[in-house]
């Protein structure tokens, strides 16, 4: 860490002691969210481009037909992959996904899977043939809080997704038979702990200054939680983060579904 980084980190923390954030947001305020559904609609069955402040993420959904898992023969399959593309940050490297990308993918996946957001039973086609929904999260500009951007764009993309025609064992590209059955809108909300304060939706500078963070994904219940990073939370921290998460998720849900 060089001097400049250290000073900015210090500045973020000092401001927060006074209850102020470096970009003047309230502690529980998200940056502006813009979502463009259907961004890659000429090819992808579903897609959404999100701007979460400076953070830019494109999620595309591919629909393919394949075999179900042996222990769930009548259920469709979903799979989530995150690519922290090197274009998104001078700190990202080429190569197979690492720790950070895998953690983000798994937390986003759990929110969608555990809430039952995709009605996988409706993705059954015939014996040994089900729809597979690939959720590919393509991170293009890292302005902080990639996790929430990814999770919000993922559910937005799923809401945008059409199911292709499937005839004589072949997926007919570019023709659609209906929408992907989506039952609810799980939204992850990430809380960074800086000093003894919690802030939602940390930007890049807040990420440098934070110790640890907690992500809570909710629908009308809690569906996924993940503490990440070195450091500790008190149980009061977590209680407060959960309450805030329900509230912020509802606001964001309106944007996603709108």
């Amino acid at each position: 860490m060089n001097i400049e980084e250290y000073l900015r980190r210090d500045y973020v923390a000092t401001l927060l002691k006074e209850g102020r954030r470096i970009d003047n947001r309230k502690l529980d305020e998200f940056r502006e969210i813009k979502i463009e559904k259907g961004y890659s609609s000429e090819k992808a069955p579903g897609s959404a481009f999100i701007y979460l402040g400076n953070t830019k993420v494109l999620v595309g959904i591919s629909m393919d037909v394949g075999e179900p898992y042996p222990d769930r023969p009548e259920s469709g399959v979903m799979t989530t992959n995150v690519e922290l593309r090197p274009i998104a940050s001078p700190l990202f490297e080429s190569g197979p996904p690492r720790e950070k990308a895998i953690e983000i993918a798994r937390v986003v996946d759990r929110g969608i899977r555990e809430s039952g957001a995709i009605d996988l039973e409706k993705l059954y086609i015939e014996e040994d043939r089900v729809w597979i929904a690939f959720i590919d999260i393509h991170v293009l500009d890292d302005g902080g809080n990639i996790l929430d951007a990814a999770g919000i764009a993922a559910i937005a993309a799923l809401l945008d997704t059409r199911i292709p025609r499937y005839e004589d064992g072949v997926v007919v590209r570019g023709e659609w038979t209906g929408k992907l059955p989506v039952t609810c809108t799980p939204v992850p909300v990430t809380h960074a702990k800086i000093g003894d304060k919690l802030v939602v939706d940390p930007n890049l500078e807040e990420e440098y200054a934070r110790e640890t963070q907690l992500t809570v994904t909710t629908t009308d219940t809690i569906n996924a939680m993940q503490k990440s990073g070195i450091g500790a939370f008190s149980s009061e921290d977590v209680d407060s983060a959960i309450d805030t998460s329900f509230k912020k998720a509802q606001e964001i849900r309106e944007i996603v579904e709108g």
């Binding site: 895998i102 809690i222 939680m225 503490k227 149980s235």
Partner: protein, 242 residues
């Protein structure tokens, strides 16, 4: 979770006869390996987990060294034969994630500033797996680290709770994990009460969360008692961090 139907509570009892707030049987031992600086072995229900520590030692590659502290890295690995369906050797996405969250938890209590520029490698080998391996692993890893002599501000203790058939219960075993509605692993710094690891998947109301969290912490505190006893019995002085 919650895919197939399976009755998990019959006549107010769990499948293995445990009460809702009852832990599975746990055995612990430290100093079980020759070639590590510290090691531990934990049996917890049908889980069998071995942990060992190499280091503090030179960290490679050089340009990633931290001049302010040691870099602690945990590697969680399941033996191919530790589960019913053979697991291909090598890390998968699940074990990469578990390795990370355990590394984070241990790094939160180890006094890494004492060993700048070095690496401390904690290896966890799951020899038999039966639900809850991440809690068993963190308990074993924490014992091995203490056994290695690296100073720690506190031990790390852990336990999971969950929801089965609508009830909040402690320490899920295999069937409960497969067919239950929620899993909530929690690791704490027992003396301070801080949360070092918290994950959850499934589905809990606000109220259920509080109940489940409290139950998990109670479990972790019982485990802490066993950890302390194990270390004391082994005559290792656990350096209490400042």
């Amino acid at each position: 979770m919650a895919e197939k139907e399976m009755k998990l509570i019959v006549d107010g009892k769990r499948l293995d006869g445990r009460k809702f707030d009852e832990l599975r049987e746990i055995k612990m031992e430290v100093n079980v390996l020759e070639r590590t600086m510290g090691s531990a072995y934990v049996e917890w229900g049908n889980n069998k987990v071995l942990a060992g520590v190499h280091g503090p030692r030179e960290f490679h590659p050089k340009f990633l060294r931290d001049p302010r502290k040691a870099i602690l890295t945990c590697t969680y690995n399941m033996a191919a034969f530790s589960v019913d369906d053979r697991k291909r050797p090598g890390p998968d996405r699940r074990s990469v994630e578990i390795s990370k969250v355990i590394s984070d938890a241990l790094s939160s209590v180890a006094v890494l500033e004492k060993y700048p520029n070095t690496g401390i490698d904690v290896f966890v080998e799951v020899l038999q797996a039966d639900a809850g391996t991440r809690c068993v692993s963190i308990v074993a890893a924490s014992l091995a680290l203490a056994n290695s002599g690296v100073p720690m501000k506190d031990l790390v203790s852990a336990c999971a709770s969950g929801k089965i058939d609508g009830e909040i219960v402690l320490d899920l075993m295999k069937e409960e994990d497969n067919y239950g509605e929620c899993d909530l692993p929690v690791a704490i710094s027992p003396r301070r009460g801080d949360i070092l690891l918290l994950q959850m998947d499934g589905n809990l109301t606000r109220e259920e969360y509080t109940k489940a969290y409290n139950l998990a912490v109670e479990g972790a505190k019982k485990v802490y008692g066993m950890q302390k006893k194990t270390l004391l019995d082994s005559m290792v002085n656990l350096e209490e961090g400042e």
